[in-house]
């Protein structure tokens, strides 16, 4: 904190005060915006939850596509609006894609962060750092485009056998777009976030700790794994939480490569489940964006947005709380 100016009182206290109040007002405005967003979206979403019941809204039952179609076609009379929705397949798809992507991304990002900080030769590191920045900057629509035009056809031709397609033909059609592509591309999208945070934290581990470990004859891998990674654990957790929030909110890419059907992949199908279509909450919102003029449908979509908003806001707060102790060590992420 800067020491207050000694001459503040004599030289224009009022201008000084005005500046502080003005800047403070902008900051409070940002806070008010967050509160307004939470409240407005919740109010708009209320009818969908109220008509279905909170537990029922999240529970399984029936085909979501059929239910959404009934909501879109509901009569114009407000007394006869249709709200029936059992959103479990959408939530299951969200959980599944996010979990797969975060677990794979965590392993990939941890290893590559260790590589960048400790093992990479200087020349490789000079390439790898811009590469991570680049991967973080590629727009999701480009990931989606490559996914739908390159990866999906390739998987359809080379990985899914005809027998596999026929084995589930009565339930769902496999065309390559599905859980595997969606979570693989999602992994690539969230890994750079985790790499950046983990690299900063690993590089900020006090050198005396790792030198002490090396002096005891511990090799470089064990020093990294047992000392640095453990010291950086809060940052790694914070990175994973932020990446989870990002994965939950990804809409465009998942709408493009998830296969356009709200289907809950059955994990008991084994490998086949990897090729079954998914459509998480955020992607569903994008898919039905043109139906916002129908009142019950818009309320249903706002209910989905509210679920995404509350979970990502909670995750952001959690990450913020996890990061607080790190500031004491001078690690800023």
């Amino acid at each position: 904190m800067p020491s207050p100016s000694p001459t503040r009182k004599r030289l224009g206290f009022s201008a000084e005060r005005r500046a502080e109040l003005g800047l403070g007002a902008v900051a409070v405005g940002v806070l008010a915006f967050v509160v307004a967003m939470l409240v407005t979206v919740a109010v708009k979403a209320w009818p969908s939850f109220a008509h279905n019941g909170y537990y029922e809204w999240f529970s399984p039952g029936g085909d979501v596509g059929v239910q959404l179609k009934a909501i879109i076609n509901s009569p114009a009379d407000p007394a006869h609006y249709v709200y029936h929705l059992r959103a479990w397949p959408l939530i299951w798809d969200t959980l599944l894609t996010t979990a797969v992507a975060v677990i794979c991304g965590l392993a990939l990002s941890l290893l590559s962060a260790i590589f960048i900080v400790e093992f990479a030769p200087a020349a490789v590191r000079r390439v790898l750092e811009p590469v991570v920045r680049l991967l973080a900057a590629v727009p999701s629509v480009i990931f989606g485009l490559i996914g739908i035009l390159v990866v999906v056809p390739w998987i359809n031709e080379h990985l899914i056998s005809q027998g596999r397609k026929q084995s589930v033909a009565e339930v769902v059609q496999l065309n390559g777009a599905g859980l595997l592509v969606a979570s693989a591309i999602l992994t690539v999208m969230i890994t750079p976030i985790m790499v950046a945070i983990t690299v900063n934290a690993l590089a900020a581990v006090p050198r005396s700790w790792t030198e002490g470990s090396a002096a005891l004859g511990v090799n470089r891998w064990r020093t990294m794994w047992r000392v640095s990674v453990r010291a950086a654990r809060p940052a790694i957790v914070a990175g994973a939480v932020l990446a989870t929030a990002r994965a939950l909110g990804e809409a465009i890419m998942l709408a493009m490569v998830g296969g356009s059907r709200a289907f809950a992949p059955n994990l008991l199908d084994g490998i086949t489940a990897l090729y079954e279509p998914v459509r998480p909450l955020a992607a569903t919102i994008i898919t039905y964006k043109d139906n916002l003029s129908v009142v019950p449908m818009s309320q249903t979509l706002y209910a989905m947005a509210a679920v995404v908003l509350v979970s990502t806001a909670g995750l952001s707060l959690a990450a913020w709380a996890v990061k607080q102790p790190l500031k004491r060590y001078g690690i800023r992420i």
Binding site: T7, F119, V124, T210, A214, W221, L242, E250, S316, I333
Partner: protein, 324 residues
């Protein structure tokens, strides 16, 4: 900053070559598990490089083979075939316009919030609340921001920022609305970069200014802000990258129309109140997932989009190198 991975140059924990020269730690003497970890690290690093190479390679090959100079200067036309659907001049204009609006709103707001958080920070409880609020905005998916924007700008009080139908319903979709929501994508990045810059200013600079009889407000305006200009610029550039790359807000809040459709009235104002599209929405609508289904046009537009993002990326790298 979560949404903007920006790698600080990691200091190597110890010069590896020196250690190896002393013969204390050669990898061939490690236990098998440790060697496996070492190999996995190399594999992970090379995998990231390979993924980036594949993405850039695919876009280069497809983009260059489908991009014609005429595409850049023709307006898009609705057409069933790929040959007759024109170029993407309007989406490029839309991208530039939307980015300009977004960053024009985000930069002053972000700098103000960051200065208040770093220099004033009173009352402390409020400052912490604002801090977590900014963090929450950084985590809110753009699809939700777009939905909230739709609610906000469809209010009759804000009708002058978009179009009103004959029945009195406010459309709520316009460049104003989309730009305002886009600014929230950039805001956390500007705040983080500015705060980072302010905390790195040595205390002597503030003290010297106070010693010359300057007030705190003058010190901020005349001493602190000019000296962190590169930080603010790199935060704003990162924010522009986020805005250019976002699709959900454009699709929901800008109407995602092919051309820039003005809302009538004064020339510039009508465009700002009207709907339009950007390169991202053009790519989305022309991909097999959208309505147009013209993959060649989508590739060409995505190539232009990627080049813009890469240029911004390089600008950020240059700005942060200059800062060190």
């Amino acid at each position: 900053m979560a949404s903007a991975p920006q790698l600080a140059a990691p200091a190597p924990l110890a010069p590896p070559s020196g250690r190896r020269a002393r013969g204390q730690d050669s990898i061939s003497s490690w236990p098998l598990m440790d060697r496996a970890g070492y190999v996995a690290c190399w594999a992970a690093g090379l995998l990231l490089c390979a993924l980036a190479a594949v993405i850039v390679g695919v876009m280069l090959v497809k983009g260059i083979s489908y991009l014609r100079p005429s595409l850049l200067v023709q307006s898009p036309k609705p057409s069933p075939g790929q040959s007759g659907s024109g170029g993407f001049l309007d989406p490029i204009e839309g991208t530039l316009l939307l980015t300009a609006i977004g960053i024009a709103l985000a930069a002053p707001t972000g700098v103000a919030v960051a200065v208040w958080l770093a220099e004033y920070r009173r009352p402390v409880g409020l400052a912490r609340a604002v801090e977590s609020g900014v963090e929450m905005i950084a985590g809110v998916p753009s699809v939700v921001l777009a939905f909230f924007g739709l609610l906000m700008f469809a209010r009759p009080a804000l009708a002058f920022l978009s179009q009103t139908s004959a029945g009195g319903a406010v459309y709520g979709r316009s460049f104003f609305a989309a730009g305002a929501m886009m600014s929230l994508l950039a805001l956390p990045l500007v705040v983080a970069a500015t705060r980072e810059g302010l905390t790195q200013i040595p205390a002597q600079m503030r003290e010297a200014s106070y010693a010359l009889g300057k007030t705190r407000a003058t010190t901020i305006r005349r001493v602190l802000l000019p000296s962190i200009r590169p930080s603010i610029a790199s935060g704003a550039t990162l924010g522009m990258g986020r805005i250019i790359g976002d699709t959900a807000i454009v699709v929901i809040l800008l109407g995602s129309s092919l051309r820039l459709e003005g809302a009538g009235g004064a020339p510039v104002l009508s465009t700002l109140r009207g709907t339009g599209g950007t390169l991202t929405s053009y790519v989305f609508e022309n991909s097999p997932a959208g309505e147009g289904n013209a993959p060649q046009k989508a590739y060409a537009a995505a190539f232009v989009l990627l080049m813009m993002v890469l240029a911004l990326n390089m600008a950020v790298a240059r700005l942060s190198r200059g800062r060190r």
